[in-house]
């Protein structure tokens, strides 16, 4: 089988290349102005003009797919690549497979209503287009590949968007996908200063800090790249510790594959207590410092 991996970020490029290695004899990686050698059998880099957007690279990708004839295309589900992926799927006369939690023999387990349900989706035609988020493919493989980098000419559609300006957002690459131990904070944290309590616990036990969607998107206390759950990170760490996390399905779907789940919440009726191995009903202001001290 031959796979095409399309990624914007280096992290996704690596994870998707490593993750498809077990199923593919040949992997071609497509990047956008940041070629990454050594992780695929060839890297095709598309250098976009400054005023072009990735969604408009569909003619170029159409050319690449025609030339490479992949059996499956794995795409990082960033906002722009989801748009590009939709157009690639349309060119292939199919629909992309999205919301993937697991992939086995080409069949994907996918989220339905934010993890309330799961559906098995199978492709009926080739190439299959998978939108594969961090953590959706098997990890643990090793990166291998060649240093071959080719460039593909950006072919602009007749009608396209023209970028007039851009303002960089603060970004951090997240080390959460590989973390063995994750502490997640939720709405139980009412002030940004309280995050220090969670950070202290992280340092004591060597954990990475993640959060629920409102903490990243409503409170803006942590970067978008650190929220766990539907449309965010899908993790399977060894230990997950939810602090002030109520346990909504939309969040838990991103961490319920952890080997062990711990919960700290002041509400004894919080749904997370039904989905954890160990839970403690208590205030984060009291429990977290005590835990940090006990585990330091």
């Amino acid at each position: 089988m031959k796979t095409l991996v399309i990624a914007e970020s280096e992290q996704a490029a690596r994870e998707l290349s490593v993750g498809t290695r077990a199923m593919a004899d040949e992997i071609v990686l497509v990047t956008f102005g940041n070629p990454i050698p050594g992780i695929a059998d060839a890297c095709i880099d598309i250098s976009l003009p400054d005023d072009a957007i990735i969604e408009d690279a569909y003619l170029t990708l159409g050319d690449v797919i025609d030339a490479e004839q992949p059996d499956a295309v794995f795409i990082e589900p960033s906002s722009q690549l989801l748009g590009l992926g939709g157009r690639i799927a349309a060119l292939a006369g199919t629909a992309a497979i999205t919301g993937i939690t697991e992939l086995e023999d080409g069949a994907a387990q996918t989220n339905y209503f934010g993890g309330t349900g799961t559906r098995t989706v199978i492709p009926l035609s080739k190439p299959v287009i998978y939108m594969a988020g961090l953590g959706s493919l098997p990890s643990g493989g090793t990166a291998e590949g060649t240093d071959e980098v080719r460039s593909a000419e950006f072919r602009r559609p007749e009608r396209s968007a023209v970028k007039k300006g851009a303002q960089a957002l603060k970004t951090e690459t997240s080390s959460l996908p590989e973390a063995e131990v994750v502490v997640a904070v939720g709405r139980g944290f009412s002030q940004e200063e309280q995050l220090g309590l969670a950070r202290d616990l992280c340092s004591a036990i060597g954990a990475e800090l993640g959060c629920t969607r409102p903490i990243a998107e409503t409170s803006n206390w942590l970067p978008r790249s650190s929220y766990i759950g539907v449309s965010g990170l899908m993790l399977s760490p060894h230990v997950y510790i939810g602090a002030g996390v109520s346990g909504q399905m939309q969040h838990m779907v991103g961490c319920n594959r952890a080997d062990m789940v711990f919960a700290i919440n002041k509400d004894k009726n919080a749904p997370i207590f039904k989905q954890c191995d160990y839970g403690i009903v208590g205030n984060i202001e009291e429990v977290l410092p005590a835990l940090t001290e006990a585990l330091s």
Binding site: S9, I53, E55, S79, Q80, L82, G85, G86, R87, A89, A90, A92, T94, A95, I97, T98, G99, T110, N111, Y112, F113, T116, G117, R119, T120, V121, I122, P123, S125, M131, V162, K163, G165, A166, A168, L169, I205, S231, H238, V239, I241, N256, D259, M260, V261, F262, K268, F273, Q275, C276, D277, Y278, I280, V281, G282, N283, E286, V287, L291, L295
Partner: protein, 251 residues
């Protein structure tokens, strides 16, 4: 400016429950407007009002989408007319087939300058119908819009990616996907809902569904991992010590 808003009508996810055997019970989940489409409807209503234009909602799905309460809810949101294809053959389509059905629907409507869609649907959150429709109509697609400024035959779209806020100029028509932060959906009053009852609903028949490129099984509740469920109900010293010991053993 004439604007079409792609509106998904689906069961209310909050009222889906699962039986012990893992089957999902949708019987109490009434049809609702997919949450993020509310923002797209609001943006369309505001743009139509600002340009003395018209806002049309467009929806396709199985027979349940013609639910009168939901239809009124759409039209109570500053939307002028609804074009609706409610047909059981259009149920559970994949994004490619949905875009095909919506494109066929759009052909039977007044020509529009702008097509808006929500960030993702409540059931699949796939963000695929927008780009699929743009491909089908051979027009540009822009994701992640937070503001739209209409111009002559073009629009300036401010949009957010994972790494930047960008200002894009695009010729119209185009398909633009709207982020939830672009607007706050209005709260509809009784007056809005009564007025909605008098607005035109165009039932469009004879839309042929395209063949599906992927096949999805019936949804089931996810398998829950077996958990120990040891809960300390009072966070006293002993409880914290035992909780910490369990954590140390797990690490």
């Amino acid at each position: 400016m004439k604007i079409a808003v792609l509106t998904k009508i689906l069961p209310d996810g909050q009222d889906i429950s699962s039986a012990p055997d893992g089957t999902l019970d949708m019987s109490r989940a009434k049809p609702v407007i997919s949450e993020y489409d509310l923002t797209a409807l609001e943006v369309a209503a505001q743009l139509a009002a600002a340009t003395a234009g018209s806002a049309y909602a467009v929806s396709a799905g199985d027979a349940s989408v013609s639910d009168s309460k939901t239809v009124k809810n759409i039209l109570a949101r500053g939307i002028d007319e609804l074009f609706l294809a409610a047909d059981n053959r259009l149920g559970d389509m994949d994004s490619h087939a949905t875009a095909g059905a919506l494109a066929a629907l759009l052909e039977q409507m007044p020509a529009v300058d702008l097509i808006l869609c929500g960030d993702g649907s409540a059931d699949l959150y796939a963000k695929q119908v927008g780009p699929q429709l743009a491909a089908c109509m051979d027009i540009p697609y822009i994701s992640g819009a937070i503001a739209i400024e209409p111009g002559e035959g073009s629009a300036v779209v401010r949009r957010k990616t994972e790494t930047a806020i960008e200002e894009l100029e695009v010729s119209l028509p185009a398909v633009v996907s709207i982020l939830p932060e672009a607007a706050t959906p209005r709260i509809c009053g009784m007056k809005d809902i009564l007025a909605a009852g008098k607005k035109p609903v165009h039932a469009v028949a004879d839309i042929e569904p395209a063949a599906s490129g992927i096949q999805a099984s019936v949804a089931r509740a996810p398998q829950q991992a077996e958990r120990l469920n040891k809960i300390f109900e009072t966070a006293d010293e002993d409880a914290i010590r035992e909780f910490a010991a369990a954590m140390r053993a797990a690490l």
